[in-house]
Assembly symmetry: C2
């Protein structure tokens, strides 16, 4: 994603975005925020509905310091909730941390939490830009190949923009942090079971017309393609 | 996880747990809820803090129709928020759905959304049971090997139980649902890029005492172990 700002302030979490403990895991570099967001595919969006929080998974896209979301213009309650205070979280789980004591079991992870109020994008060019950003985030390279949204589709679509000003990033890496006495006692395995997300070879649509090949922007995403059965 | 109830009501989403569109993706079988929860490692917990939603990633464990969470007794605000109305979501992304038009891009996913009010578990045996459920969810088989939480550790830990009564499950599978006119036009690749989470070979702690081998309950989780470099 392109950067729109040449000077960007460091991340400065507010009380609500620095809730959890383990402050040594906090990061303050905007590049780390960008990296966590760009590596994700789905965010968890928390909105307030009838006085209660509701957390829904949804797609997004980032352009500089703006995060785009979309919804349906038909969902009135959700539309109202999405333009109030929201909390948006993207999490990558990188490993399970096995410790020598139950209390020190943990996860290695990278997580970004954003707070703010999404605004409804109204300008038609800006709305189309938002759609492009989201499709290109989900499927880089695809926008130029596929049919663009038409007027009817865009009329049914709510495009929202969330400023990335109020954000925090937490990262945990490395092995278990066991108590000295448990390390001395010994005899128990401790370490990390690393995890990652992989893409398997693409499956063409059943009704795909003959002669259309898998484009490189899809095939190139496959993980360890040489090793796949 | 063991089942505590012999008869379990079907999932009956309330308005707040059936917010999003595409109702055909909704599932009503409790076994599907269990499967989505049991396959997850981290949930996204939405709480209300100072009038705004806050979404935090956290570990959990399930025993029958009870979901356990934990926190620190030191986090006063969070403790209060976690015993109010919460929304808890577990999502698995199974694939990126490439369509012939931008508007039909989608994800294949399995997602569970729970609503309720977690209660603080006070009985000491029940608290220890909750800890065991969470560790065994994160790291099946490990509880029997590691040092159990001591009194001091348990005193600093908040164990919460959330009833799984109000829950909804959504699942999307299969290829793109393109417009007939776009299928007729043709010429654009469409299909699914499948995704999954894999475990790589474990990394022993740097200070692990010699002679302690990786237990089978860890080694057995490694994905495609024969193919790993």
């Amino acid at each position: 994603m392109s950067e729109t700002a040449t000077t960007r302030p460091p991340l400065s979490p507010t009380p609500r975005s620095s809730l959890t403990r383990s402050k040594e895991r906090g990061r303050t570099d905007r590049a780390e925020l960008d990296a966590v967001l760009d590596a994700g595919l789905v965010c968890h969006l928390g909105v307030l509905l009838g006085g209660s929080p509701v957390v829904i998974p949804t797609v997004y896209g980032r352009d500089g310091d703006t995060l785009y979301l979309h919804g349906s213009t038909g969902a009135g309650n959700l539309r109202a909730a999405m333009t109030g205070d929201v909390s948006l979280t993207v999490t990558h789980v990188d490993g399970i941390v096995y410790a020598r004591s139950a209390m020190h079991f943990s996860m290695n992870y990278r997580s970004a939490v954003i707070h703010g109020r999404p605004v409804v994008v109204t300008d038609e060019d800006a709305r189309m830009h938002g759609m492009r950003v989201m499709v290109e985030h989900t499927a880089p390279g695809a926008w130029a190949d596929v049919r663009s949204p038409n007027k009817k589709e865009m009329a049914a679509t709510l495009v929202l923009a969330l400023d990335l000003t109020e954000a925090s990033v937490k990262v945990r890496t490395g092995g278990p942090r066991d108590d000295e006495s448990d390390i001395e006692t010994g005899g128990v395995w401790a370490g990390v079971l690393p995890m990652r997300q992989v893409f398997d070879p693409p499956i063409s649509a059943a009704d795909l017309d003959a002669g259309v090949e898998v484009p490189e922007y899809v095939a190139g995403r496959v993980t360890d393609s040489a090793l796949v059965r």
